[in-house]
């Protein structure tokens, strides 16, 4: 429910931003971040930009997503197998 994803503002008009989410473009309402300009990285939730991200940090996050995805893809023990019912000490 509280998922939010990072994207980069490509264009701004009338309080609505065109935002690039890793190749997919969507419009976001900027009413919660009225001071933020073109080129900024923002966190998107429910059609709104809710917070501005530091560009270096945003790119590091995206890189981290990718590294972790690669790591899990390469791992002999992927997340599905690892979390088979009864597999965890907490289950």
């Amino acid at each position: 429910m509280c998922l939010a994803v990072p994207g980069k503002i490509l264009a701004l008009e009338g309080g609505i931003a065109r935002v690039d989410f890793g190749g997919v473009e969507r419009d976001l309402c900027m009413d919660l971040l009225p001071e933020v300009g073109c080129g900024a990285w923002v966190l998107a939730h429910a059609g709104f930009a809710i917070q501005v991200l530091d560009e270096e940090e945003a790119q590091a996050t995206l890189a981290l997503f990718q590294e972790w995805a690669d790591f899990e893809a390469q791992s002999a023990l992927g997340p599905t197998e690892r979390s088979a019912p009864g597999g965890g000490h907490d289950a």
Binding site: M1, C2, C29, L32, I50, P79, S83, D90
Partner: protein, 357 residues
């Protein structure tokens, strides 16, 4: 930054193991954390003395059956279009679900943003559009901003059914309860992106460490390490692991809009009961957008939870989902009984999908 995430994860597991000096229970308040912990199988690699318990961190799960029934009754009123986030569709009220009502012909539309609900209202001037206002502080400001836009544009057929919940006062109620035992909070990252870190200070003052934490596996492991280090050192502070998205002040513009439109009120949490000061109700200037007065409906009082369902104890961290007698037997994601199995971010759905690893 060490480039190899595997090495970083191993270093964090070692840091947690070295810091843990006594049995410790940490609550992840946010359902997005619950799902991420399950997806990455983090529980299975943590030391045996460290328990992660899921809290009431899913706005869908904690919406009382009576609010679901009210939404259903509104959707059945002539001239009403009910707009909702898709998460709410299958949640059982006391008398059916919105999905069931839609199948029977009620006007229920799924939207991804409250702005889409406002657009529905602009496009249907003869109808009343009711938006089901569920969410924590991450979502409430987006709905407040939409209501301000509706007022500014003079869209008078848009209204909101307020079912909002506030997280830090609910955490305080959990800590004050004699039945819960929480040594530290993994604080919700995106709620905090809006509210900042100061609202957790009263929890730290009561001796409970709080760490605002991001949602990647490495974020969560680091947040856990920071909490275990505080617990073992016998200190309780508010720390911020997720500074890349959470400035200490949060988003003051968003919180200003939230307080412009809504005032705090008491709120019923499904399976838990009424917690003072944990809800939001429209201020008098926005009373005309309160769906409860715009579309009055009579709703028979329902049972809060289906018979046998232990979602209330699960959301308080008193029971793990597999300890509920219905878990995996009468209650599965395909045929859910309780709200924590319906919601994709409910603790029961997470345990069913990932096996508690």
């Amino acid at each position: 930054m060490t480039p190899d995430p595997r090495a970083r994860a191993e270093a964090l597991y070692a840091r947690i193991g070295a810091a843990l000096t006594r049995p410790t229970a940490l609550m992840e308040v946010c359902g997005t954390h619950t799902m991420a912990i399950g997806r990455h199988g983090l529980r299975s690699r943590l030391p045996a003395g460290l328990r992660l318990i899921s809290g009431p961190g899913c706005p869908v799960c904690v919406t009382p059956a009576s609010d679901v029934d009210r939404a259903i009754a509104m959707a059945r009123e002539p001239g009403v279009i009910l707009a909702t986030f898709g998460d709410m569709l299958r949640v059982p009220g006391g008398h059916g679900s919105l999905a069931g009502a839609r199948a029977e012909g009620a006007a229920v539309r799924v939207v991804y943003s409250p702005m889409e609900a406002l657009a529905l209202a602009r496009g249907a001037p003869g109808k009343t559009v009711v938006f089901v206002g569920i969410g924590f502080e991450t979502t409430c400001p987006t709905i407040a901003a939409t209501m301000v836009r509706a007022q500014r544009e003079g869209v008078d057929n848009f209204c909101v059914l307020p079912c909002f919940k506030l997280v830090p006062p609910a955490m305080e109620a959990l800590v004050a309860s004699p039945v819960t035992k929480i040594d530290g909070f993994i604080c919700p990252g995106h709620v905090s992106a809006l509210i900042g870190i100061a609202p957790y200070e009263p929890l730290a003052a009561r001796g409970v460490p709080c760490v605002v934490t991001g949602f990647e596996a490495l974020d969560i492991l680091e947040g856990i390490a920071m909490l275990v280090e505080q617990v073992s050192a016998g200190v309780a502070r508010v720390e911020n692991q997720y500074a890349r998205a959470v400035p200490a002040v949060g988003n003051p513009v968003a919180m200003g809009l939230l307080h412009q439109v809504f005032a705090p009120c008491d709120a019923a949490w499904r399976g838990i009961g009424t917690l003072p000061g944990t809800g939001l109700t429209p201020r008098p200037e926005f009373a005309s957008m309160d769906a409860r007065t715009r579309v009055p409906v009579a709703v028979p009082p329902p049972a809060d939870l289906p018979k046998g369902c232990a979602c209330g104890q699960v959301m308080l961290g008193l029971l793990l989902p597999p300890e509920c007698p219905l878990f995996g037997r009468g209650c599965t994601p395909a045929h859910p009984v309780g709200p924590c199995m319906v919601s994709s971010e409910g603790a029961c759905a997470a345990y069913h999908k990932y096996g508690g690893a």
